[in-house]
Amino acid sequence: MKPRVILRIALGVYFIVMGMIKLLGVEQFMSALDGYGIPSPFPLNLIAILIPTLELVCGLALALHRFWRSALLILILLMVCFSTVIFWRMNAIHALEDLPRCAVSFDCGCGNGVVNACRKIAINVLTLVLMVCVFRTKTWPNSLK
């Protein structure tokens, strides 16, 4: 099996697990979203349901090799958004509590509870690099195969 295929399946499984964790602990996820100042009720509640299912569906598509490039594109966009809001909140806490940026920890809504913001951003950047590696081909978007 090619390394890229293994990486695609691994990323798919990762997002399926992340989506399931958020869906099964939707209350904790909502609470984390509230921390980002997302307006409540409708936008927050909708995002709390939509993001985990989007991760789940895209993870499945990635693992099963169906619409996988579109799924990967959605996940890349999601990951960029997640990392941006984590960075923004990390800066807000840094300014408010006068903590060094890399000492800031909070529940980012990533499914792992309270995490160090710097470490989470680093993990997200690494995941993004892996996703871009899987996504990149010489033929896309010209290939209609």
Partner: protein
Amino acid sequence: MTQVENHSLGVIRTLQEMMVLLLLSVGIGAIWNCCSSGRIDLNFDYFPAVNITHDEAAPLTDEDTLSIADWRGRGVIPQDALVRLLADRGSSRQTIALIDARKEEFFERGHLAGAKKLDRYRFAQDLPIVLPICLRADLVVVYCQGGACDDSHIAGKILSQAGVSADAIVILEGGLERWLENKREVVQ
């Protein structure tokens, strides 16, 4: 087919697939939300802005003589006062409703005797049970785990939005943590 047309078709197909995945996610999300026990009501505000001003009850010298109705409008009730009111309630015509504002799993592990749960994430199933009791009660005592927990205040807001008089709602000072610290009884 030219290179540009091929390129455009590839982009369009990717966008179509993204739309399919998005719609599929919306559908699965809707089904999941309908079928799961922790159903989220899209229009319900689970995080209302609450004004948490009464973390500690004001010291009272006449605490021992206060009746249930005297605690209305005070915002917070000390634990000793609640214990005394609960012990005396057999001799009073006034009633107290005890509301546990914690999550269902914590409620099941142990709660004050006679308390009803009002988990804000399960309000659709809890409120119809709790509301008639609260509307009849002269005093509604809401408690959560303790500390700076805002669940009591949010449960209080849910109850007042549902029609319970805001004056009748008081928060138990210190929550369940202090209740247990004082070696008071809980039931499962």
